[in-house]
Every structure is written in C-alpha cells, then in structure tokens.
C-alpha cells in the first residue's frame, strides 16, 4: 500500500502572526449524542448512578470549559460544574431522550456559572490573575505572551471575554453562545468582534511570528 505524498497528506502552510490567522481554530467537537449516550441517559433516568458517572466522564471537560469561560476563576468553575451536574441529575426525569444531552447540560452549566458570577461580583483583578497564573503550563509556551494575554483578558468586559473564549478557544457557534449566555446571536457576534479588537489592540506590540 502506497502512502500519499507529503503534499497531499499535509494541509497547505498557513500564514499566521501572533494576532491573526486565516484558518479558524476549533477544539475537538463536543461529544455527539451517540446511541451509547442515549442508553446511558435512559439508564441514569432510571436511577443508575454508574450510568450518570459515565455521562459525567463524557461531558465534564466541556462543562468545565463553559463554566471557566464565564466565571474565569478555577475554583468557581469547579463549583459551577458540580452544581450543574447535581441540577442535571435532579432534572433528569424531565429530560427528553430525543434531544442531545451535551447542549442541555451546557445550558445548565452556563446558568450555574452565571448565578455564581452574579453572587461573586466582588472578585478582584488580582484574584483572577492569580487564578490564571496557577493553571497548567505548557513548557513550550511563551512567558511573555502568557503574561500579556492574561492581563489583556482581564481588561476585557466580562461578557465579551466569555464570548471570545467560548468562540475562539472552545469553538462554540454564535447561536450556541447566545443560548448559553442568554443574549441574542447578533449580540454574541458583535461582542466577539469588539473583544477581538480590544485584545488585538492590547497585544499589538508583541513581536510577529512567522
């Protein structure tokens, strides 16, 4: 069996710098509503906690990402995720098996995170910066970019930052973001553009990357 030539196998090289890139970046797609997932949800509805545990394993990363985009601080995101899974468990008997579990759960997560964010409005920028500084680090990451980006993100208004992170980092569509944050799709779109504009402005003087 012949392997395809390198030119056919690899995507064409992208022309990017620190601030723009011509190809959208998406994280891996959220878990789809697989037949297995439906069976797990049905079993969980009948009180099978192990089945619900499997659903937690499938969706916790996405749930954490949604919560973290909204509350920013790791501890708050964890609280919101736990609270959301408990709410989802308690509301399972009202869940329609014909719909996808992931989006339903994500809305619960977003609501829990928004509730928490409203209660903890008094978080200071230092708290947020500290929380971001304590996150997992990729050794190859640029220290300067990390520091500048962390500072810049803290200067963007909360909702714009949530939209930016949900869209550009987590790969949610505008319509999904609108539903999660309880805002019209057009507002999500406009928030994203403003957030990008501000972020680019704040990172403008970083060196270009070939």
């Amino acid at each position: 069996m012949h392997s395809p030539r390198r030119a056919e196998r690899d995507p064409p090289p992208r022309r990017c710098n620190f601030l723009t890139c011509n190809r959208p970046q998406r994280v891996s797609d959220p878990p789809r509503n697989l037949p297995d997932e439906r069976a797990l949800t049905a079993a969980a509805q009948k009180g099978d906690q192990a089945a619900f545990g499997a659903l937690v394993r499938l969706h916790q990363k996405r749930a954490y990402a949604v919560a973290r985009a909204i509350v920013t601080v790791h501890e708050d995101a964890e609280d919101a995720v736990q609270e959301a899974f408990v709410r989802a468990y308690q509301a399972l008997d009202r869940f329609n098996l014909e719909q996808a579990f992931g989006p339903w759960l994500n809305r619960i997560v977003a609501n829990a995170a928004l509730d928490l964010a409203r209660r903890r409005k008094v978080r200071t920028t230092d708290d947020l910066h500290e929380s971001m500084a304590g996150t997992f680090r990729d050794p190859g990451e640029s220290d300067e970019l990390r520091r500048r980006l962390s500072e810049a993100l803290m200067k963007i208004p909360e909702r714009m930052r949530s939209v930016l992170v949900l869209h550009d980092v987590e790969g949610f569509a505008h319509a999904e973001i609108g539903k999660l944050l309880g805002i019209p799709e057009g507002t999500a779109r406009s928030d994203l553009h403003h957030a990008r504009q501000r972020l680019r402005g704040m990172l403008q003087n970083l060196r270009d990357q070939e």
Binding site: C16, T20, Q49, R57, Q60, V81, Q90, F136, S142, V169
Partner: protein
C-alpha cells in the same frame, strides 16, 4: 471593507488561542479530570440520599395528613354519634316518661265528691287532652 474590518472577522492566531487555552485549563492538566468526576459523583450521591429522604419525608407527610384527617373524622363521627344517642335517649325518655300526678293542674272545683264517675272521667279526659 478595510483591513481592520477583515481582521475583526478573523479568528485569533493559533499561538494566542493555544496560550488562552492553557490559561483557561484546570491545574494538574489531565490528572484533574478523575478528581473532578469523583467530586461530582460524591455530590450526586449526597443529592440522591437527600432525594430519598425527601421522598420518604413526602410519604411521611402524606401519612401524617391522612392520619390527622382520619382522627378528625373519627372524633367528629363519635361526637355526632353521641349527639344522636342523646337525641334518641331524650326522645325515648320523653315518650316513655310517666307524667307525675302532681304536675296535672286540675282546675279548682273541677272534680268533687258530688260529681259522678262519668263527670270525673270527662274532666280527666279534658285535662289529658290539653
């Protein structure tokens, strides 16, 4: 459409997105997820236990309400039965009571030695009929 407008529609550069992703990642990296799952499931177990108690509590509340309604119905029934017994007894007693002789007021001079038995009988019937 100028350059700035075009750029607003473009996603951020991969380096920025990767760095943002790292900033928004949980501490401990992949090792974090089993811990989060354990915490979530611990809360679920607590919630399930609480739910069980709520269900039992609901039943207990239902049972208590039923018992209270039963007791109230029993007490009311007993009182009604007593009142009815009382009524029946009063009616029976009033029907069977012998009217004492002294309670019959006989008009003075209605009966006399001179009156014959027919006259006395007629007077007696007249009094009784009143």
């Amino acid at each position: 459409m100028d350059n700035n407008e075009v750029r607003l529609h473009e996603p951020l550069a991969p380096a920025v997105i990767d760095t943002a992703r790292a900033l928004y990642a949980p501490p401990l990296g992949e090792a974090y997820w089993p811990q989060l799952e354990a915490r979530v499931m611990s809360r679920i177990a607590d919630s399930a236990a609480a739910r069980w108690w709520i269900v039992v509590g609901g039943w207990a509340r239902g049972g208590l309400a039923t018992a209270a309604a039963f007791i109230i119905a029993a007490v009311v029934g007993l009182l009604l039965m007593r009142a009815r017994d009382q009524e029946v007894r009063v009616a029976y007693e009033s029907a069977t009571q012998v009217v004492p002789a002294e309670s019959v007021v006989v008009p003075a001079g209605a009966l006399s030695e001179r009156d014959g038995p027919d006259t006395r009988g007629a007077t007696f019937r007249d009094v009784i009929s009143q």
